[in-house]
């Protein structure tokens, strides 16, 4: 005979002000199997919890229903309290009288009636609950970090320094990401490479970090603590063990006119190349799409000149499989190119460039060795226009959000330009200046007040070329929207930061959700900023949304702390609310007929085949079995099962029927 205790919470006035809690307690007390029923001001308070614990012991309760707020809020609290009083925590259920009743209805009899119904449903459900034990799973203490920009580098170093193994992969031939392309960084104007390259080297030399560049995630399976990642190491066409990075091959490669990715198309590279001089690892790869040997069948000049015979034209992609316990996504972002802007010439004007291209022009290691020169004729621009919000905050172009970093880097660009071209004139067209950050506002003011950058509040409507000048048509909205026309030598568009191409596919591989713009979604916008909704997978940096370096680094360290926390235990506890296939006495063994419809429905490959044999080892039947480590408890298999042989703990057929029946038969 069930002995259920029901505890009605007033939540101060939150529930009590709308629902007649006393009446609920009184009514429920009369139900079959209810041994105790009481209402109280705050059930989640210490005295409230003591009330429950005491009742469990004194009334020898076999189940508990707490009628209070949403179970999404306090279910763990009350289950813990039950457990402390010696009652299996899974024999505790919550009725949601606050979010689903008192807060959404006016005070009335109907509201109290609904509260009574909700409690009755859960009383009937809890009678069918089973005592369950948490599931323990082992943890593989290796983290996979995807993406080797500053986010991935920082996360890898932090995890590795905490004493855990890290596998860092990057799809480019070198780590470094966008930060390695930057000239100087706001608001301190320190050189980006100077602060980044030591970290890159540290990654390469760290005993706990295994680095695979030119590598991508092929697939991943498993669950928190127990993933199995398959990584495609793309063929670099060299033997990395033999290559010394002497660079002879690069000097000799006859194919020198390929637009270089690192210089954002403003410089060229060879077909066998390292992206930039400080690359890590500093060993070349052959770009097979542009290599004459691969496209035309002959050349092999690099092979001839390589002093260590390290060139491998027949190398193939290699797939390696590694067990990991956690994944950190740090795949970064990209910026829209100038071709995205019809009104700014569809990218056809060579002297209309992106902010990232300007970084390369301003960088001492860039194609112009740090001199600001026009890509078209190499002349130093005397008049330069910067356009903020190019694509960002533009719903008509499909990018309604603010890209966050452009205000600051545009101020930096204008400043760098004024530092390098003293007699030059610079203009910034902006809509709002978003300089929220330590020393950020001061930085922008410096650009305006000390470096004489002309800020004009208005958006540029059109850019066209006339007699070698770029005509920029804007308006000054602080001067009654007066039209402003500037004949510029060069225009820099602070183009919108957008998700990397292929981010959706990657998210789907990892079962991580993403927003409509392709950025990965955090599990909670405020309280879980580095978690994803898939346990064991974390994110950091601009793959979640555009962000600057300080923010990226802090988020990377945060993700690393989460991973370290996960790796601090040898075993993980998991909720036992999972599917089970029934078992019964011989000769039936199970009602499962082995159709494996469940396996087709399961998104987690959690359904296994189990062979039932007699003592002689003779096969009697094959039935389904749920791997408790893999099952996430969605219950799709339960709805699919034709013979009702698979059921779900916590949401069993019996429980759900009991709930519905209780609701409709008062």
């Amino acid at each position: 005979m069930a002995r259920i205790g029901v505890f009605i919470c007033h939540c101060g006035e939150n529930i009590g002000g709308t629902v007649d809690c006393e009446k609920v307690a009184r009514t429920v007390a009369g139900y079959d199997g209810v041994a105790y029923s009481i209402d109280y001001k705050y059930m989640c308070s210490d005295p409230g919890q003591s009330l429950i614990k005491q009742a469990i012991k004194e009334k020898e309760l076999t189940g508990v229903v707490v009628a209070a707020c949403s179970p999404r809020m306090h279910e763990p609290t009350f289950r813990r309290a039950c457990s402390e009083a010696g009652l299996n925590p899974y024999l505790c259920e919550m009725a949601n009288l606050r979010e689903h009743c008192s807060w959404v209805h006016e005070k009335s009899d109907a509201t109290t009636e609904k509260a009574i119904d909700l409690v009755r449903m859960l009383v009937e459900k809890v009678k069918k609950n089973h005592a369950l034990q948490t599931i323990k799973v082992p943890v593989t203490k290796t983290a996979l970090v995807i993406g080797g920009g500053i986010a991935g580098i920082q996360a890898s170093l932090d995890i590795a320094n905490a004493g855990h193994q890290v596998v860092l992969i990057d799809r480019e031939p070198s780590i470094g990401g966008h930060m390695s392309q930057l000239s100087e960084t706001f608001p301190t104007l320190d050189c980006s490479q100077c602060i980044l390259t030591p970290r890159m080297v540290e990654v390469a030399q760290h005993p706990n970090i295994t680095l695979y560049t030119y590598a991508e995630l092929e697939s991943i399976e498993g669950f928190i603590g127990n993933f199995k990642a398959r990584i495609r190491k793309k063929a670099k066409s060299i033997d990395e063990k033999l290559c010394t990075g002497c660079g002879m091959c690069i000097t000799k490669c006859p194919n020198k006119k390929i637009p270089g990715e690192f210089n954002e198309g403003l410089g060229t590279r060879t077909a066998i190349y390292v992206p930039f001089p400080q690359a890590v690892p500093n060993k070349p790869v052959i770009d097979r799409l542009n290599c004459t040997y691969y496209t035309k069948g002959k050349c092999r000049v690099c092979e001839k000149f390589c002093p260590t015979q390290a060139i491998r034209f027949d190398q193939e992609d290699e797939i390696i499989e590694i067990p990991v316990g956690a994944v950190v996504l740090a795949t970064g972002f990209t910026v829209k190119d100038t071709g995205f802007f019809p009104e700014y010439g569809y990218g056809k004007y060579r002297d209309v460039i992106t902010g990232l291209q300007f970084e390369r022009l301003a960088s001492a290691s860039g194609p112009t060795f740090g001199e600001i020169r026009r890509p078209s004729d190499g002349k130093i621009p005397q008049k330069i226009v910067f356009v903020a919000c190019a694509g960002s905050r533009d719903p008509a172009k499909g990018i309604p959000y603010c890209s966050k970093i452009c205000c600051m880097y545009t101020a930096k660009h204008a400043m760098l330009y004024q530092h390098k071209v003293h007699d030059g004139e610079s203009y910034v067209f902006y809509m709002d200046i978003r300089a929220a950050g330590k020393m950020y506002e001061e930085f922008v003011r410096r650009a305006i007040e000390e470096d004489g950058v002309n800020y004009i509040r208005g958006r540029v409507s059109r850019i066209y070329e006339k007699n070698g000048k770029l005509i920029v048509k804007g308006a000054d909205t602080l001067l009654n929207a007066m039209p402003v026309e500037i004949e510029a030598d060069m225009v820099v568009l602070a183009t919108a930061g957008v998700a990397n191409e292929g981010s959706e596919e990657l998210a789907q591989k990892l079962h991580v959700s993403y927003d409509e713009y392709g950025f990965f979604s955090e599990a909670h916008p405020k309280l879980k900023p580095v978690e994803t909704n898939t346990a064991g997978i974390f994110l950091t940096g601009a793959c979640q949304a555009p962000k600057d370096i300080p923010e990226t680094v802090s988020q990377a360290s945060a993700a690393a702390a989460k991973v370290a926390g996960l790796f601090s235990k040898d075993e993980l506890s998991r909720e036992p609310l999972i599917a089970v296939v029934n078992r019964s006495a011989p000769p039936l063994y199970s009602t499962c007929v082995g159709c494996f419809m469940c396996a087709t429905a399961c998104p987690y490959q959690a359904i296994e085949h189990e062979e039932i044999r007699d003592r002689k080892g003779q096969l009697i039947k094959t039935v389904a079995r749920v791997n408790p480590g893999l099952c996430q408890g969605c219950g799709t298999c339960v709805a699919f099962c034709r013979s009702k042989s698979i059921d779900m703990e916590g949401y069993s057929h019996e429980q759900m029927y009991a709930e519905v029946m209780a609701l409709l038969n008062d």
Binding site: D394, G458, T477, N480, M482
Partner: protein, 181 residues
Amino acid sequence: MSTLLKEVITENTGIRIDQCYQCGKCSAGCPLSEEMDYPPSYLIRMLQTGNADLEEKVLRSFTIWVCLSCETCYSRCPMSIEIPKIMDFLRERSLVEHKSNRKAKKIIAFHRSFLKSIERTGRLYELGMLADYKLHTADLMQDMDLAPKMLAAGKLNIFPELIHDRANLSAVFSKTIKKKK
């Protein structure tokens, strides 16, 4: 019924004036900006305030009449605000309230002569329209050199082309622009 002009605009056109975040791209691209008393984004700002004096200025502005409906503003507006439709609405409203800008007299006279010509004949009778327009603007000399050249080139009809069902057309006018409110 709302009394704020911006809300009246929303009720009649579905366009939400408060969507504008004042980037000024419309004013920057408008070919007529420099001839306007208030460039488009500025005019929208005036409407956003809900200030009665500013609304009055909008209805009395020259802007709404010099706007050519070239649609450049709308095509580049990041918020896809249909400014030409707003201008259409404001013009009609300005006329109804007898607030049209003095400088726009000729523009309005032209539109009126144009419609009068259509109402009478069904199709545009350019010579008739021009005569009517000149009568109303007292600008007798305007385009005097054009007409003979047009006649010579066979570009001007001496007589109007009349459509058959002119009764139908005159009904259309009396049910729309001539409807008594």
